[in-house]
């Protein structure tokens, strides 16, 4: 993998029968970058992301994630990435502590390492009072933060966030983006899909998918200039409406 790209995708395609969900997309993501992956529902961004995280096999094309080929080494990719789904999936009937221990465990962290990471997390997020509470009893904002922290538990090269801010209030969203910035600053690459166009402005670069193709890819500033728009929302509407 040349220079410091952590994701390199070339003509990646996914077909389901006659339907082409992802049509020959190509892009690169640099280390430490916050890469926004935008698109309307059904534009193919979830399918594209599933190929990158190794749970869906591409039909054709080339892709490398964290230095590993998605066709031949999906298992190595899995060890080097973190993933947070839009459902903030944690186990509701386990406590915060048990969730951290469990997810640390399946990534093969040692007991001592898990303990160290857990204490770090408790301090950083101020979890002292809720660490022994069942996750099911916590408000959504907490679940979101914990879910993100758990995705980072094994210090992955890249973390994939699938619509990580759905259903939470603007203040919590703001706080969440601060967490994203913080981990990007420490060198973690962030690959994030979102519906919120104001969030697209926070990304270093964004790609916009329409009908399985990447129609635009640049910094938010340049995209706004190119499409003569005041904000990303206008850019998106211009693209999506053709």
């Amino acid at each position: 993998m040349k220079n410091n790209n952590v994701i390199e995708v070339e003509n990646l395609t996914k077909k389901f029968g006659d339907f082409t969900a992802v049509n020959s997309i190509s892009f690169e993501v640099k280390k430490g970058e916050i890469f926004g992956f935008l698109g309307a529902n059904g534009a193919g961004k979830t399918t594209a992301m599933k190929m990158l995280i190794g749970i869906s096999k591409p039909t054709s094309g080339k892709a490398q994630v964290a230095g590993f080929d998605v066709f031949t080494h999906p298992e190595d990719i899995k060890k080097n990435i973190g993933y947070m789904s839009q459902k903030f999936a944690l186990y509701d009937d386990l406590t915060v502590k048990e969730n951290i221990t469990f997810f640390g465990g399946i990534y093969g962290l040692s007991r001592a390492k898990i303990k160290e990471k857990r204490n770090e997390l408790v301090e950083e997020l101020g979890l002292e009072d809720i660490v022994n509470e069942l996750v099911g009893s916590l408000p959504l904002g907490w679940k979101q933060k914990i879910s993100f922290s758990i995705a980072l538990l094994h210090s992955p090269t890249i973390v994939f966030l699938d619509e990580p801010t759905g259903g939470v209030d603007p203040i919590t969203r703001r706080q969440f983006w601060e967490m994203i910035y913080k981990s990007a600053n420490s060198g973690t690459t962030i690959f994030v899909t979102t519906h919120y166009m104001d969030e697209a402005e926070y990304c270093d670069r964004v790609s916009i998918m329409v009908d399985g193709k990447i129609e635009a890819l640049d910094t938010p500033k340049k995209l706004k200039e190119q499409y003569k728009a005041d904000n990303m929302n206008e850019v998106f509407l211009k693209l999506a409406r053709g």
């Binding site: 298992e75 993933y83 186990y91 386990l94 399946i106």
Partner: protein, 368 residues
């Protein structure tokens, strides 16, 4: 391996923190076995009957004496006219009325033939049938007694002996059935629900993105249920031995091995169900309607397979429970060894492989 232990620990947290699944796991087996053992039975015991004795002579008295002396019947009342027969049935006082014809003894000694009429309440046909058979048997044995001295030429005597369950205890028939149902319920339904729950919550996705391999995820989810099913099987066997005096004629070791085989068959069915259903509700419906119902109806647990219409008999062959019940009856009641049940064992084994292969295939399609 360490990852695995963490996974199984988590699975036990799920089970022990959910009261509903705890109840299904441990309350249900005990409740069912006691229910089937004590309440649901097709033996007759102390059935109330009425007597309408039109002749009231020495012979009828002797027969009545014999009937009331048996533990199967108790004579509730004596009737004195025809109209009353209808009334006692309608009131539901008795399940059968015994009518002796007029001049019973005279007819018997003079014409060598006397008539006794057994009228039964056939709203419950099985019981009615048993009552008729029991009464005929008692009268038949009385007849033999009085014929002892007279020499009848060319007499065919039928002697029957009920082997393996000489007292015809229905609990012996139900225990293998209940055990089968429970193991099926725990293994197939509970696993399919627990796997689909992860799908519903979205945690399955997280697990698939993790370095755990899909088969590790599935095995991790299944192991706790193997463990709990074995405990259940042990509880059922202990209950049936100590409470219902069910004999285990064959080897306990073989019984254990066969049970583990059936548990794995059911688990593989559970996995298969979870690959085709997206929600817990669907998984539960498929398990109940597609699995439990045919198992109860077609496995020979309640309805004998030999008296089913041919198409159903053919279908019953694809029900894993049918084979396991045969194995259980073989080991527990007949005391046979593997030499006699290898065919059934092989069929179960084949079914298990088939279900696992099918699940793996479905699972792959889903991942594509």
């Amino acid at each position: 391996m360490k990852r695995f232990i963490g996974f199984i620990k988590k699975e036990f947290y799920h089970i022990f923190r959910d009261k509903r699944s705890l109840f299904i796991l441990f309350g249900m087996p005990i409740a069912q076995i006691l229910l089937f053992g004590f309440a649901i039975t097709n033996e007759i015991n102390n059935v109330d009957i009425a007597i309408f004795d039109k002749s009231n002579d020495a012979t009828t008295q002797e027969i009545i004496q014999k009937i009331s002396a048996s533990k199967y019947f108790s004579i509730k009342q004596n009737i004195t006219n025809e109209a009353e027969i209808e009334t006692v049935f309608q009131k539901g006082n008795v399940l059968a009325v015994l009518v002796f014809e007029k001049d019973f003894k005279k007819n018997l000694t003079k014409d060598n033939a006397a008539k006794v009429h057994v009228i039964t309440d056939a709203t419950d046909p099985n019981t009615a049938n048993s009552i008729t058979n029991y009464i005929s048997a008692i009268i038949g044995s009385y007849q033999k007694e009085i014929n002892k001295n007279s020499t009848l030429e060319y007499q065919i005597e039928t002697k029957s002996r009920m082997v393996y369950n000489p007292e015809l205890k229905s609990v012996f028939m139900f225990v293998p059935g209940v055990m089968t149902i429970i193991l099926m319920l725990v293994s197939a339904m509970m696993t399919s629900i627990s796997i689909t729950r992860e799908k519903e919550l979205g945690t399955m996705e997280i697990l698939l993105v993790s370095p755990l391999k899909p088969f590790q995820v599935i095995i991790g989810k299944v192991i706790p249920y193997i463990f709990l099913s074995i405990i259940n099987a042990v509880v059922i066997v202990i209950l049936s031995i100590f409470i219902f005096k069910m004999p285990v004629q064959g080897s306990l070791f073989l019984l254990a091995l066969e049970s583990v085989l059936f548990i794995i068959t059911s688990l593989s069915l559970g996995i298969l169900i979870s690959t085709v259903s997206a929600t817990q509700q669907t998984a539960m419906m498929i398990s109940l309607m597609g699995l439990m119902l045919p198992t109860i109806l077609l496995s020979g647990f309640i309805f004998p397979i030999s008296s089913m219409p041919l198409p159903l008999q053919v279908i019953s062959n694809i029900i894993p429970a049918k084979w396991f019940i045969l194995i259980l009856k073989g080991i527990m009641l007949k005391g046979v060894g593997l030499a006699f049940i290898w065919k059934e064992t092989l069929i179960l084994f084949g079914m298990t492989l088939f279900f696992i292969a099918l699940s793996v295939k479905k699972y792959k399609i889903r991942l594509e």
